[in-house]
């Protein structure tokens, strides 16, 4: 994650604060962390009803949750547990595939292909409430593609696309963070002609 923060500072005007905080879902300070990142490979213990309610309020009232399945394959423990939990938390909302013209693909870079350590899905999934997608779910292990050791070497190879796929992972990561801070800003009419022209539409 440190690598994406560094890249964020290098490439964008966002002044990221590198600070480690350990929070639980029941901690009220959770609401002052408007970007939650959740990742894993395996099944995890289900949330308690109170934790589910807290997370539901957090998501409904303006928080942002980016979830990654780092397994590199579909339908394993984390994926199964997360899908079940999110259904419990937001029973009336559905995790859906985000369309290609979703603002998360346009907030900073015009992202056409999904990056990540693995290319499990050629898409992102998300829960959209009105014009805001507070939950985005990736199964391509973006953080695996971002990971560097202390000497700056990539920890994981990106398969099957190699460095191009890693580059896309960074672009998508930056887009997701910028999206969490600007919402559907890129859907404002003023951006339309520029984006269309660049996408040759």
């Amino acid at each position: 994650v440190e690598a994406i923060v560094e890249e964020l500072e290098l490439r964008t005007s966002i002044d990221a604060l590198k600070e480690r905080r350990i929070l639980t879902l029941s901690d009220t300070d959770l609401f002052f962390c408007p970007f939650l990142y959740m990742a894993g490979k395996y099944a995890f213990d289900p949330f308690t009803p109170r934790e589910r309610e807290i997370l539901r309020r957090y998501i409904i009232f303006g928080g942002f949750l980016f979830v990654e399945d780092a397994m590199g394959a579909k339908g394993f423990g984390f994926d199964q547990t997360f899908r079940k939990e999110i259904k419990e938390i937001l029973p009336n909302q559905e995790l859906k595939r985000l369309p290609a013209d979703h603002p998360v693909f346009q907030t900073f870079y015009l992202v056409g292909s999904m990056g990540g350590r693995q290319k499990v899905n050629p898409y992102l999934e998300g829960i959209t409430i009105d014009n805001w997608t507070p939950v985005i779910y990736s199964q391509n292990d973006l953080s695996g593609a971002w990971a560097r050791d202390k000497f700056g070497k990539w920890i994981h190879e990106c398969e099957p696309g190699g460095e191009g796929q890693r580059s896309s992972a960074f672009k998508l990561g930056i887009n997701i963070i910028v999206y969490s801070l600007t919402s559907d800003y890129k859907k404002d009419l003023v951006h339309h002609p520029f984006i269309k022209r660049r996408q040759n539409l």
Binding site: F31, F32, F61, L181, S183, H191
Partner: protein, 729 residues
Amino acid sequence: MTLNQVAISPVFPLWLILLLLSLGLGAALFQYWLLRKRIGNPRAVVLSLLRLGALILLISFALNLSLRTRKEQKITQSLAILLDTSQSMDLPGTAGRGSRLNEAKGILLDGPTPLLKSLTERFNIKFYGLGESLRSLEAEDLAGLKTGGREGDLAEVIDRLADRHSMAVLISDGNLKWKDDASKRLPLFAVPLGDPKGYKDILIKSVQAPVMAFRGREVIMDITVKGYGYKGLTFPVHLKEGSKIITIKNVSLNDHSAEVTIPLSFTPEELGPHHLSIGVPPQFGESLTSNNTVGFSLRVMRDKIRILMISGSPSQSYRFMRMAFKNDPSFDLLSFVVLRTPSDIINVPLQEQSLIPLPVETLFSKELRNFDLLIFDNLPSHLYLKPIYFESVREFVKGGGGLAMIGGPFFSDEGRYNGTPLEEILPVRLNEREDYRRDSSWKVGLSRAGKDHPITRLSPDEGYNLNLWQEMPPLDGINLLAAKSSGTILLECGDGNLQPILTVGAYGSGRVLVLATDYSWKWYMGMVAKGKDNWPYLRLMERMVRWLTKDPSLDSIQITLPEKRGWIGQEMEIRFKAGEEDFLSGRKGSVSLSVFDPRGLKIKSQIKKTGQGNEYLGSFLPEKEGTYKLKIEAQANRLEEHLIIASPMEGLDALPHPERLKMISQTTGGRFLSKEDDLLKEIESYAEKKERRFIELRSSPLWERPYTFIFVLMLLATEWYLRRRWGLI
């Protein structure tokens, strides 16, 4: 006297009277029988007849005999003289006779035998002045009589006078209210005034204009112009605000008497009340020029509050503000977020970037005036804005625009604003060095001014509002600033050395606000974390925008002006609602109304509660034409409105209408008299035909007549005398 003239109405039953008469007759016969032996037959007969006569007369009183007489009487007719005194009577009458009123006075008073005098001798005269209302006059008032007010309602007058008068003489130019179904019980003799053929006038007959319009949207008005005696003339009709002509259109009249309706349109750009007028320049020979102009008010509103926000970087502050602005359908947000600075490395070709250039030149040179509010959100402006644009911002605010500066690390742009026009208009002093602090947690509280200010008064309940702000979570970052003396601090933080967090001020016609933090979004999430609602933050943002843009919906006083046009002498009523906080305060006299006439002098006005919640009814009586200023004050809130009182001559169509008088007189069964007619003769001749007589019946009871009693006494006295003489006594 004949028997037919005698009538009886017995006071006792008839049988009792007959019984008494029989007893009287019996008594007389008995007396005769007694006396005949003593004084002989002839004398006894005389005395008995005398007694019988007296008894019969006395008993006959019980019959209540009376004498009836019939006499035919002639009724003197009651004649009302109705003299039109409305404002059109001040216009020239028939050539050489001054005003129409003077012409009327001449008809009544001039000549060797004045008409008024002659009518007074023959009729019961009652004299009335017919203006906006009917008023009773004496003949002596005629010489000093003046015109004024709008046309009178003749139909209503007939209703009132029909039972009191047998006919009426109407002296008028025909500018009267009349309706076809009016009562026809009072015959009218109409005497026309004025010369319709020689009358020349152009007037604005009507203006169909909305009372409210939206800025930037075309307003179309329908103007009806009427002209008399200007066939073929082309002249301009202009729309003005003060002395400034807004638009103009030419109109041609194609007949001696012509009416033309034209559309006039314009696009208002300035918000607020506009006092406009539609006018026609005075033409040569016009009889009346004061009806060439009509004034009216137009309130220009926003359809939406247009906000231009430029953010220095993507941030939570931006996202939550954006969410709040997008949440309100009356806001139209155009935002630009600086996604990369010149030093950032983007490292991809343009086709893969979604970044767009910030169109500063267009925004600050051309488009800024199309917005109501400009927000700089943590913007390192030196990177994007030329100093010349700060001048545009100053002019924008001076002209009535709103400016908000939202804090953050780049808020004061390392002191680069100092010495720029922006520094001049802000309500805070900016530091030359870095002023942003994230090293502590800053608990914010309401200042004294903040407790009542519309931005921070999120609830009408003072205690609840105070608690609300105390519950707000602390901020993680603030800009250290100092308020200028012209600034008003609404929110502050710190112990002892208080730091202004939310400061407001004014510059020119505009308003300015500084929110010295980029963590206001914590007020949103903090309340959500406590399981509460998110409305305080949303309301704060909404009220910030509305206050900065002087949005009327933020006014705690809402006024409803009368729909109909106001006239001199007509009481004007204004309904208004004080805000909840003023109403809840319940303090007596906390709401006041002041009315200022067109000269700026305060005039008498009343105010009372309507009994419907916090609604009040204000009223005043205008005595002059022009624009009246209404000032409503309620606690800390104040509202000013304007109301136009029309000139009495405005829209006055004063063409003499003899044909209307003719129609009215014929409808009522009266007669239309020309000035050449012998008016007295015509009236008398009509009156003779309508002359009414009546039979007077008089009843005179006999017992009321003294000679009846004298006669009875004489009978009794004669009897007494003869009895004495004949030695019976």
